[in-house]
Amino acid sequence: MTVDFQQVQRQVKELGQNAQASLESRQHTREQAQQFLHACAEAYDLLHRKVEQATLYDPNLRCALPVNEPIDGSYRQPELPAQATILAADGSQIAPSRHEEVEYALINTGAIQMKLGSPEPPPISVESVLLYDEKLENLTDALLALARDLSERRLLADLAVGLPPPVITFTDGQMELWLGQAGDREEHGLFQESLLEYKSVLQKLCASQAAAAGYVDRPHARTVVRMLEVATLSEAEMPQVKSHKPFRTMRDLHLFRGLLRPGERSALFEIQSPSAKFYRDELALFFFYLNVGRQGRESLARVEVPRWVVDSPPMLDHLHAVLVQQCRVMGAHPYPYLLHRAHETAVVSLQEKEQVTQMIAHELLGRGIDVEGKSHKQQLKDQATRGKA
């Protein structure tokens, strides 16, 4: 059975009819939110106080906190350092499946290291870790993703040791480890273990005087918007903070639209979230928005950084300049070149997955251990896919 395009067509028409009105409404909300952003630009104490009050009524509040820069400010692209080492890592994973011939998981992490301005080809590192037997017990998709994120940052920390500064490291996605909403007690226990190791890896990067960052392309966050929403409440209205969302259609991306010229970053913000307590002192997490696009083609990314980067203006400037340079390498699709290359290095193709599966099956069969084979469901799916190819 295929998609019923007649049904879809009717719905597409409705979508189109609503689009203009919804665009106009969003535009109006954006203007209001931007006016409020300018009005609160230097109201650091007020914003801190409001957020503090709000957390009493919504302990899970996730929003931004101003630092010491006007929150509607923009900061020009600094000069690139004369020399620097740039390290990027990315990971991919094979999740275990009971429908496959053998059950295993694999985390593949790739890193690439480039010396700014050097004619040498950048060295590439790959780490492939197979998980099997008891390591698969309680391994959920969320925990596997967590292990992958940890592996990316661990590889960067290992590679950064002993490199002469400045060293700039980044991965794709946010810096905060994230388990999601779901998860039982056991999962949370394993999350805590991962978090401890993650923090020790971050401390290792800090000790190496390496800048660390998480790069989020087309960010979906609304942390600054949420801070503004909270700030519109009076003390008496604060108990309604959970449901108070006057800018509900807005993302931070919309808020900063038109405020940053190509290469410019926004003000720095601290992350207020329930997990902020896990990241203290030099590991406290901050972020800024960065326009990596060109004149007339704005493209905003969110960059998350730990406090040791924020506390070092040269380190922050180097990171800012390097990220813009890396995105410019990619022309019309601004995204850090090295992150793309790290992804290319780490990604596990279907063919490679099949190869790993066969390697395990051969090993087991060679030792006289029976391999169950694919489930009936998987075999039928594969046949259907082959039939369409």
């Binding site: 690439i112 480039m114 010396k115 700014l116 301005g117 050097s118 004619p119 040498e120 080809p121 950048p122 590439i124 410019r328 390498v329 990619m330 022309g331 019309a332 699709h333 070149y337 793309h340 290359r341 290319e344």
Partner: protein, 202 residues
Amino acid sequence: MTAIEIGRLLRASTTGFVLGCRVMQLDKPFFGALVRVPQEHDYQIYGLVHDMRVEDDGLVRQLATVEFVDESTVADNRQNRTTPVEISVLAVGYQRHTSISHLLPPRPPLSLDLIYLCEPDELRGFTAEGRFGYFRHVLRAVDLPVSELLAAHLQQAQQAHAAAGNPGWIDAATQELITLLRDDYQTLMNVLAALSDVAKSR
């Protein structure tokens, strides 16, 4: 003397084969070069390089549109990424033990066989054998730039023979081509024009 390896075999047929190499290996082979593919049992296949193709992919196309690409990015793409260079070779003969034949090889080389550039003495050995029988493989390949291929090959072979005190080899080769192409005026004119360009550049 160290053999110059230029790549590994990707696919083959009786009349020719294609090898893949990394961009950084591309400074070794050249258009018209004689190459050899050693096989088991003291047997090797000879061929002439007639095409070199640099493949692209999405990232290379993206980078090509950018105003400035730094050296490190270029080096990364040339040396680390798997965008292969394909070199097409026309089979022109083979060697079994010490005997060279200008007939097509009895069987093609196999996947991932190593391919080497022929040294001047090997080029002399292959081209001095018999009566230029391998020319007919080139002349039959109508889809190839025949005159340019012959000119490039003859220039290289002539230099190898002249260096070994046999400057007359090129005259004998040209005479043989005139004989083979006596009924194909257009091709003969193209070949002679290309050879005249070779003579001018000497």
